[in-house]
């Protein structure tokens, strides 16, 4: 039941500037993604935690790799360029998600502060 606008207005001309990038951008991005995939898997077998003795390094590096992959997809594959209004929506989103994460972890992390170092000793 979609109704059609019988006489749509013409698009204002100055808008016709957003260019489609050359296909090579996509091929390079794809290559980058594959390499990063290799890096993640290699990391897993290397197990930096054991190598460096610091717990969590591997997780952090793996997440950094994942974030870089995701960023590549968002920037190039999803072509985020005309997103002026959207950028803040995304920022808001990351902010809100961080709040949820932060709030819950704040609770669980700080529970021990009272019980363990408090009166009971």
């Amino acid at each position: 039941m979609a109704h059609v606008n019988p006489n749509p207005k013409p698009v204002p001309p100055q808008q016709e500037t957003t260019k489609h990038p050359s296909a090579w951008v996509y091929h390079f991005t794809f290559g980058f993604l594959m390499i990063m995939l290799g890096v993640t898997v290699a990391l897993y077998y290397l197990d930096l935690d054991r190598k460096t003795g610091i717990t969590g390094v591997n997780l952090i590096v793996a997440l950094l790799v994942a974030v870089s992959k995701a960023t590549a997809v968002v920037l190039f594959f999803m072509n985020v360029k005309n997103g002026t209004r959207l950028t803040w929506l995304w920022a808001a989103l990351g902010f809100i998600w961080a709040l949820l994460m932060g709030g819950i972890f704040m609770d669980y992390e700080s529970r021990a502060w009272v019980y363990h170092d408090g009166w009971q000793r």
């Binding site: 979609a2 109704h3 059609v4 606008n5 749509p8 207005k9 013409p10 698009v11 204002p12 808008q15 489609h20 296909a23 996509y26 091929h27 991005t29 794809f30 993604l33 594959m34 995939l37 993640t40 898997v41 990391l43 897993y44 197990d47 930096l48 935690d49 054991r50 591997n58 997780l59 793996a62 997440l63 790799v65 994942a66 992959k69 995701a70 997809v73 968002v74 190039f76 594959f77 999803m78 005309n82 997103g83 209004r85 959207l86 929506l89 995304w90 989103l93 809100i96 998600w97 949820l100 994460m101 819950i104 972890f105 669980y108």
Partner: protein
């Protein structure tokens, strides 16, 4: 066919005036407003999707902190090779999707069809691999419903790796626990295996306490908690990958529809917006997997 050749397929379709065939719905003033609205809409939808999966990632992280050892152990049941393969498949699909969108913008109908075809095949391959993985887990008793049997899985896993000569060390305490628990379970399966889910399955049954008392012997009791933590891992694993799989399936349906339209003569190739929207969606599905893969398969 070389890439270049692919890109030039279907040039014959274009060459018309820009946007000439696109219809503008009544609520919009012009085609640009319509297109932008759709794109903003898709992004907003993806925002909700991110929160949707974000909540699950949060659960994942919290339990990972609380039950790290159980995570570490349980993730061994996920096969890194399959996972890597699936990641590769999805990345390829993402690339072919972006190429489809690219071709769509250039108005190359056949190239669109070919690239969408590649994407479809990748998606199908992804689901195929997933179903192999899933059925293996079902077989091992790792599906976290009432029949979840971690003891059996652990024992089988240990024997498997012994048979393949990977393990020389003695079994870990957890394995010992699993053996013991399994032994007991075999002696009195109906009681013991029911234990962890007694509460769940008997919700509302009047004799909850009876079951509770009948259940655990020492070894099983010790193991039950281990099992529960592994069970949480697998619950989260199945929920997240399951929902992701549902998204892949939906993507496949959408792409199917799209291919139908691009294949049929009446469709106007100028209207590449649906293609672009589905492309965005598909990349999002890909991104979710980009995070799922290291978090689920690569715990160290």
């Amino acid at each position: 066919m070389s890439l270049h050749a692919l890109e030039t397929v279907g040039v014959g379709d274009d060459g018309h005036e820009e946007h000439a065939h696109q219809t503008v719905s009544i609520q919009y003033e012009n085609i640009e407003q319509q297109n932008e609205s759709y794109i903003v809409g898709m992004w907003s939808f993806l925002v909700t999707e991110v929160m949707f999966f974000g909540a699950l990632f949060l659960l994942y992280s919290l339990y990972r902190v609380l039950y790290f050892n159980a995570y570490l152990e349980a993730h061994q049941f996920l096969d890194v090779k399959w996972g890597t393969l699936n990641t590769m498949v999805l990345l390829v699909s993402s690339w072919s999707m972006v190429m489809a969108v690219y071709s769509g913008q250039k108005g190359r109908r056949k190239a669109v069809l070919v690239f969408l075809g590649i994407t479809q095949i990748c998606a199908a391959a992804f689901m195929g691999v997933k179903s192999i993985e899933y059925s293996k887990k079902f077989g091992e008793g790792l599906f976290p419903d009432a029949r979840f049997n971690y003891a059996k899985a652990l024992t089988m896993h240990h024997e498997e790796s012994k048979a393949s000569g990977n393990v020389h060390e003695p079994p870990s305490p957890r394995h010992v626990m699993a053996f013991k628990a399994l032994e007991e379970a075999e002696k009195a399966p109906e009681v013991t295996l029911a234990a962890p889910t007694a509460m769940a399955t008997l919700a509302g049954a009047p004799d909850k306490n009876q079951i509770k008392e009948a259940v655990p012997s020492a070894a099983w009791g010790t193991f039950e908690h281990e099992q529960n933590k592994a069970r949480i891992f697998f619950s989260i694993y199945f929920t997240m990958t399951g929902l992701h799989g549902v998204h892949v399936l939906i993507g496949m349906l959408l792409m199917g529809a799209l291919m139908y339209f691009y294949g049929s003569k009446h469709h106007c190739v100028e209207d590449y917006i649906p293609l672009e929207l589905i492309g965005l969606y598909w990349h999002f599905v890909d991104i979710v997997w980009i995070f799922l893969f290291p978090l689920m398969y690569l715990i160290s």
